[in-house]
Amino acid sequence: MSINWDFIINSIPLYEKAAWLTLKLAFWGILISLVIGLICSVIQYFKIRILRSIVGAYIELSRNTPLLIQLYFLYFGLTKLGLTLSENTCAIIGLSFLGGSYMSEAFRGGIEAVSKSQIESGLSLGLSKIQLARYVILPQAFSFSISSIGANCIFLLKETSIVGAIAILDLMNVTKDLIGMYYQTFESLLMLVIAYLIILLPMSFLLTWLERKVRYAEFGN
């Protein structure tokens, strides 16, 4: 079997465009996930009534339903109710909805890892609960949770591979189209793998580096 190099070279622009789209969706999905996660974990930390239950329900709902179903619901389900969102908006909302709960759990893990004596030490200086969170708990929690946050970022980026289900021309969907049209299965899939690696490998390295930096600043190891 020989590799069809012409096909590969010709397909590069398509993959490039799809890769940027994948990155864009992942970027917004991750960013909004982080914000949702932080808000949810703070609500849980302060044990704010009512909101806390809502957050709990949200986390269970989001973690226990597949992203594909969430996307279908947003894209096809909401349209039936008269709310039509663009494909990209649906994808970003879906990713954020899913990622928010994962990020929240990562932050929560970090917050719980802050030792009780650190909190007492802060209390004994007369810090209020908000000051305690701002100066003592959250900075340390962030260091503790940075590796899970990194893992979640990569997870979310990979999850973008199913947004093709709602007609977005991401890397996966472009590949399916090419296979369908030209029957160049091996070449198309090879390009797909390479495209994901080009995006994910630098991101992995970056996150590992960041993790080391943050942990060193905090704990020196």
């Binding site: 004596s117 030490s121 209390l123 004994s124 200086l125 600043a217």
Partner: protein, 249 residues
């Protein structure tokens, strides 16, 4: 004598404390005058640390009363955040904040809680750091310090709040032996300056040197309150005698 001078700085009356219906402290009566150094001794698990923690609201009490300069610290409407500024506490595991430098650790309370002038606090902090011999570590992170250094910084951090009382909870218990002295000397220095202190420790020689009165706790009750000379040479209770014997080889 004015009425203020006659009043004890801290007064503990009939204090009762339990965890899950299990008595931890019972019928604690103690008056601490300004400038006095109280050392609390007793076997492990007798409630020494719990007693200290009750005094700055880290543990709620189930009965009795604690009064700071005549003002009750019991009841639901007590503003512990305010009271804790007057009652400094140093813990066994130093618990400096690892995400802040030495000086940031020290300035946090005075500036964020007490809203004091930064330059004024900085001057005070430097003076205190100099006194504990750590002025050159002002910008270090806790991870760069030894246990003894961390504990001295923790003491400075508490002192910078200008507390009226300092509580020391087994502050040398996690230190390597050669670092114990440097920390104890700082506390001894504070005693000489007239700082009111309640100290929980297992360092018997230190207790004898620093204390005005020894409080001996056993199984949640005060067994004996005595001057150190008397307590160490001629303890009144059988329980205290047994306790002191353990320390003699």
């Amino acid at each position: 004598m004015s009425s203020e001078e006659k009043q004890p700085l801290l007064e503990i009356k009939d204090l009762y404390k339990e965890y899950d219906k299990k008595m931890v402290l019972n019928d604690i009566q103690l008056q601490i005058n300004k400038g006095e150094v109280i050392v609390v001794l007793g076997p492990s698990g007798c409630g020494k640390s719990t007693l200290l923690r009750c005094l700055n609201g880290l543990e709620p009490i189930q009965g009795g009363e604690i009064k700071l300069r005549g003002k009750s610290l019991s009841g639901k409407d007590v503003d512990w955040q305010k009271i804790r500024q007057h009652i400094g506490m140093v813990f066994q595991n130093y618990d400096l904040f690892p995400n802040m430098t030495v000086i940031e650790n020290i300035l946090l309370g005075p500036i964020k809680v007490q809203k004091r002038d930064k330059n004024q606090v900085l001057m005070q902090a430097k003076e205190l750091l100099d006194r504990v011999g750590l002025l050159d570590r002002i910008d270090a992170y806790p991870r760069q310090l030894s246990g003894g250094q961390k504990q001295r910084i923790a003491i400075v951090r508490a002192l910078c709040m200008n507390p009226e009382i300092m509580l020391f909870d087994e502050v040398t218990a996690s230190l390597d032996p050669e670092m114990v002295r440097e920390v104890l000397e700082v506390i001894l220095g504070l005693a000489k300056q007239g700082m009111t202190m309640i100290i929980v420790t297992h360092e018997m020689a230190f207790a004898q040197a620093v204390a005005d009165r020894i409080v001996f706790l056993d199984a949640g009750n005060i067994c004996e309150i005595a001057e150190p000379q008397e307590f160490f040479t001629d303890p009144k209770t059988e329980r205290a005698k047994q306790f002191l014997n353990i320390f003699q080889y």
